[in-house]
């Protein structure tokens, strides 16, 4: 493993006073605003979502994260498109990780928006993987390029975001995606 996994954040209650809570079934989605009950150092603009580890819920995760980022006018349509795809890839990997180990746990998606910056965490309880084992894609002109029908997900996340961090251990994987509304600049206008 290239990075040791952080201890996972204590789970917060799904539905806060401002949250939406849809039943306690395996297909439930819960979301909460951070002002109530997020334990992982949340700012006042964080949103946390738990989705069932099923692909039909990917659209929910994409919609919520992009809607949260879109509240900041510095995120252009193009940046929101990039975020939408990066988040979807991270959630897809998490859902696949749960499918691999037969876990029925929900996947936790947390986005924290602050001053032109959004940080999205996607956490699963799969087997984890070694990020350094990923095979580099052949160059586009390489005839073998067409052999890579899969394996694009992490490469896409890294290309689409300003920063992608992957912490993986045998207990699970945490992917952290960071994106600025204005590429490469933080809220104070400093180069990142």
């Amino acid at each position: 493993m290239s990075v040791e996994a952080e201890p996972y954040a204590t789970e917060s209650a799904g539905g806060s006073a401002h949250g939406v809570s849809a039943g306690g079934s395996a297909h439930g989605v819960s979301a909460g605003g951070s002002a109530h009950g997020v334990s992982a150092g949340g700012s006042a603009h964080a949103v946390e979502l738990r989705i069932p580890a099923r692909t039909e819920f990917l659209a929910v995760a994409r919609m919520v994260v992009v809607a949260a980022a879109a509240l900041d006018p510095s995120f252009t349509e193009e940046r929101l498109d990039n975020l939408r795809l990066a988040v979807s890839e991270a959630c897809t990997n998490a859902i696949e990780a749960h499918a691999t180990v037969g876990s029925h746990d929900q996947v936790r998606v947390r986005c924290d928006r602050d001053g032109g910056r959004i940080e999205v965490e996607v956490e699963d309880h799969g087997h984890g993987f070694d990020p350094s084992d990923l095979v580099a894609l052949p160059e586009p002109d390489d005839p073998e390029r067409l052999d890579f029908e899969s394996g694009l997900g992490i490469m896409l996340m890294r290309s689409l975001t300003d920063r992608t961090e992957i912490e993986s251990s045998p207990e699970g994987t945490l992917v952290r995606l960071v994106m600025y509304g204005i590429p490469g600049l933080d809220a104070a206008g400093n180069t990142t």
């Binding site: 692909t55 039909e56 160059e139 586009p140 390029r145 067409l146 029908e149 896409l156 689409l160």
Partner: protein, 124 residues
């Protein structure tokens, strides 16, 4: 949820895809494209992506797989009306130089409306 409809325009078969082509929808779309490419040895397939609201890496994989299959069989395959977000993704992964594109206006007018197929999102 993804749906598609197929039209014939001259020698070309045009399949228009609508909805989110993600990991859930990819297997069914792959099956449909394989079926269209298997219809005859001389298939010339255009994939119309104007209604493809979202395409993830698995959606890209389906397009790559269809292009590979077409090339191996000596068939033609082209993309048309690629949405801006997908166009940027294709460029990002270097596939913009791999996929042929075509303008719908370069094709003959539609000759018949063939089928409309709903492709359910498949559970992983």
């Amino acid at each position: 949820m993804v749906s598609s409809d197929v039209r014939h325009r001259g020698h070309w078969t045009v399949v228009s895809v609508h909805g989110d082509i993600d990991v859930g929808a990819a297997p069914r779309l792959r099956s449909e494209l394989i079926e269209l490419l298997s219809a005859s040895d001389q298939v010339r397939l255009v994939i119309d992506l104007q209604g493809a609201d979202f395409v993830d890496s698995f959606g890209l994989g389906v397009l790559i797989g269809a292009l590979k299959r077409a090339r191996l069989a000596g068939q033609e395959l082209a993309l048309t009306r690629i949405p801006p977000a997908l166009s940027r993704t294709l460029t990002l992964v270097g596939l913009d130089r791999v996929f042929p594109t075509i303008e719908l206006t370069d094709l003959d007018p539609p000759t018949d409306v063939h089928v409309a197929v709903d492709i359910d999102t498949a559970a992983l």
